[in-house]
Symmetry: C2
DNA sequence: GGCCGCATGTAATCTGTTACATGATTCT
DNA sequence: AGAATCATGTAACAGATTACATGCGGCC
């Protein structure tokens, strides 16, 4: 019962995505993230770090736990989403990523879970990300032009970003083309 | 006199670049990094962190210090490069950046200092970075193709990287075109 | 009077990584 | 016999961030 202060949209909200479809235990999540496929391609979490994050999510009231005893093994700690957890996940997964360094990890993680939730939500995520990228592109482009001829290095820095954002926008188109193809796996 | 173990090419080697042209003190470096131009556009270092890094560089034998007294102000601690420091900087600045997340910060920092050292070294840096990027591009491209049709998400992840690397390669061309234009500022 | 610039840091805190610990079972 | 898998973590350390501390001079 901690005060529901959720400094919004941190990376650990992604973990809630694993619990959205059905409850699981930490080791299972670790296994999925250890594969070099799916989200494991993008997000690497050490085992102890993962357990710590899950404990933190419990402490914040996004998940509750239940022990599932086993023969000859330590009992599994099954994590269930609370209503607050469900809310936090849905908010996180649908919001576009603002800034550069977060794009790689955060957006790809959002996309991963959005795809599991269905085409509508995925479509919306992509569309909002496109808008965010275009805004950012305009800013960088404007700054690049302002520095053209006077500050060559600064201009190159902005040009670099412009190139990366344009590539991202093209890639978002590709995402949308691939979307309709729904496969059970992947 | 610590054993000259320099775990190679960490970001703090960039600081040596500020000392290469002439010795300076911490606050001066901080001022230059606080501007929203030049390297400050790319690399943000908090003041106390900066002092800690400089102390570390001294401890490792890359710089020596000398106190410059002032009236009514705390004395400046002037940092001078040692021979080991000069070596470390030159090695750092000329080596290309291997992997994705380091590209933004590390390469742009290298480029910043390389430009001050002259066209030859800059040209070489760009060329080596191009080679590194092409290798990386081939790897990602191969993996993307292998996943095409079977693992849509994994394919998208690799396609994302392919797009970013291609944009970087184009941008490296731009860098080379701009290079001959040498301006005292920027 | 209060804030900013100069110039240095230390101390406390938060975060992340590495190493260690348990204990039965199955694989080589 | 030794290693890996399952399933949980704790403890120690390293790195980074935030807050705090000093002390003078100039600006509004």
């Amino acid at each position: 019962m901690s005060p529901m202060v959720s400094s919004p949209l941190t990376t650990e909200h992604a973990l809630l995505g694993f619990l959205y479809q059905q409850p699981t235990h930490g080791y299972e999540i670790h296994r999925r993230l250890s594969d070099s496929e799916g989200l494991g391609l993008v997000w690497h979490v050490k085992q102890n770090k993962l357990y710590a994050l899950l404990a933190k999510l419990e402490h914040k009231g996004f998940v509750t736990t239940e022990l599932e005893p086993q023969d000859n093994r330590p009992p599994r700690k099954i994590f269930h989403l609370t209503e607050a957890g469900r809310q936090a996940f849905l908010t996180w997964v649908q919001s576009p990523v603002r800034h550069g360094r977060k794009l790689r990890l955060d957006f790809l993680a959002k996309l991963y879970f959005a795809r599991r939730e269905g085409q509508t939500i995925t479509q919306q995520l992509i569309e909002e990300q496109r808008t965010a990228c275009r805004t950012w592109l305009d800013e960088e482009y404007a700054q690049a032009e302002a520095m053209r001829d006077t500050h060559p290095y600064d201009w190159l820095v902005h040009e670099f970003r412009v190139g990366q954002i344009k590539a991202m926008l093209n890639w978002l188109d590709t995402c949308q083309e691939v979307l309709p193809v729904v496969t059970p796996k992947g």
